[in-house]
Amino acid sequence: MHSQAAAVHPEVHNPALLHHFAEPQQQRDAASLGMWIFLATEVMFFGGLFCAYLIYRIKYFGDFAAASQTLNAALGAANTVVLICSSLTVVLAVWAAQHARRTMLLVSLVLTIILGFAFLGIKADEYKEKFELHHVPGASFQFQKSIPGHPDQMANPQHAQIYFALYFIMTGLHALHMIVGIGIFTWLLYSAWRGRFTPEYNTPMEIGGLYWHFVDIIWIYLFPLLYLIDLHK
């Protein structure tokens, strides 16, 4: 396959150049555009959930506020910090790959993965808390809380259950994407350790980084919309 490609392109070429591309820049541009388009599909995917959430929030304002206030904003904030730091380590890793700094690359990748696990760990803690409070939708769901600002009116548990259903689906899907991200970065770590990335070729790092930043941004939207929005009522 390579020799055939070499016959078509007699000039010396990067072994990472795939046969159907004319030159490395084209391959890079294609990979980058492909990842951006994929991220656009993810925006639409999460977008449906955000839409449903916003519509119900308008409809069941008080009940959703009550439910939101039971979230652990401190843990959520911790997770936000964790993710922002991990985006920093990702940026450092991409830069390191582009500048052939092997140690920095490997360390940044390892840190990114650790931070990813930290995020999941904190999330697991949060979910455990919700489970103990019987806020997980299902047969054992319970919700006894008054509507913020109206201490004599109890929130409607059915509406609160919708809140928590959306909460778990949104954060759960996000966590799933985090797990995939950790998987991608584990593979990137392995490739980096094998010396696969050079200043000429580090496209997987670049597009892996794009994916991680995107997952981070989804959280940047989730956190205020779910946790912060009714903190002070």
């Binding site: 294609a30 492909g34 639409m44 449906g48 119900y56 409809k59 069941y60 939708p137 409607n156 919708i162």
Partner: protein, 546 residues
Amino acid sequence: MAIENPQPERVNYLNKEYGIGSWLLTTDHKRIALLYLISITFFFFIGGFFALLIRLELLTPAGDLVQADTYNKLFTMHGQVMVFFFLIPSIPAVLGNFLVPLMVGAKDLAFPRINLLSWYLYVIGGILMLHCMATGGVDTGWTFYTPFSTAFSNTKVIEAGLAIFVAGFSSILTGLNFIVTIHRMRAPGMTWSRLPLFIWAHYATSIIQILGTPVIAITLVLVVAERSLHLGIFDPKLGGDPLLFQHLFWFYSHPAVYIMILPSMGVVTEIIACFSRKRIFGYSFVALSSIAIAVFGFLVWAHHMFVAGISVYAALVFSLLSYAVAVPSAVKVFNWTATLYKGSIHYDAPMLYAFGFLGLFTIGGLTGLFLAALGVNMHVHDTYFVIAHFHYIMVGGAVMGYLGGMHFWWPKISGRLYPEGWARLAALIVFIGFNLTFFPQFILGYVGMPRRYYQYPAEFQVLNVLSTAGATILGVGYLLPMIYFLWSMRYGKPAPDNPWNAAGLEWKTASPPPTFNFDQEPVVTWEAYNYEELDAPHREEVPVAG
């Protein structure tokens, strides 16, 4: 008896490697296109079989062929299979996959392995669907409205939902691949304005695929979650809103119909240009119309909900926008017709399908105006009028375009010529059978026969019988190409590189093409649809790669 080739056979993408492994692990877009061809044809006949049973039941007013529950499963699965496993992939996954790289002058799509992955996702979705059908099926209607689908149906809603979810990713990846290919892989000299309109059509289609499909994906996730965990997102008894489901569902499913028709429009454009021997009239307008349809198509979803309980003002907005989206489609019909003017017209089978498309799509599109009219919609919504309308577009439009394209590019794909006489006969049979099947349904709808009914008042019987008669004729028309295409693979005349003397880079390479499409990278120095040059024998032929 096989016809002997005068020369030893050239190496092409078909004979380069043999063995099932070379097919199942291929990254060649042309082989993947054939893998899709086999799978979607398989599902087409499954969906068609369900249609046959439906039409047989509807021969008589009483529900006497199958039980009510069975009938409900039949129309549900007919819809799901035809929409998600036939129409949505059809042209993009078969003709698009095969032709997009060739038409832009590339060696393959941007992401060949993702292309193969998209086929496997389709197959996995298909297997899930088959399993669902074999173990009880689903009876929610292809639209699976809540709360029936989430809280009342006793059938395999979750499995069907998962099957469609997986197949949806196949669609997304195809769209992604096409967009990147069209942006980044065009050969030198292939500017945007030199692209065949088939490419513009697929570009517009791909935009819809990547932006719309994720929304049905998340809707399916919510439905599956609600059904399995007894949540209340769409169930009024638990505080949910069934109309929210409909908005989310139709936000994708309306643009989805443009996924189904735009590629067909692209095919028809190529055929009309070739068999009129002239450049398409109004190239820029046709190209922009495709984009306009894709964009406006996202703004009209609630025209499926005029009597669903939305506010009058919302209905007004969506009706207005629905008329806006009708304009670019009308513009295309006029441009196709104008292309015929002062052309040099040939009546080969692909052109017959294109003519059929023109007539049937016009009727189907015009009946869309009826449905977009709020006052009429109140009467014909959820009746056979709607069924007739969308079958005119989907079958009279999309499938005619698909068949026309299969005939037009068959020599390129297979290296063989199909038998022209049989092909023209099949086109005629399809056209007659189609009209007989579906025109009576407009009348049936206006006099009040609702959708999804397996028993009906006796006064509706005559029209139903006509429709069933047409369906049997249509079935014959569809079987014929199956038979003679297969026949041609062994006994058909070997095809020259360019049997139609058509414009387009795909015709400048061998039939069938070599694995990497072109022996040398093409350099484009001519405009699209250069039929004047192609038909001018005294002019020196423009230097061509290979």
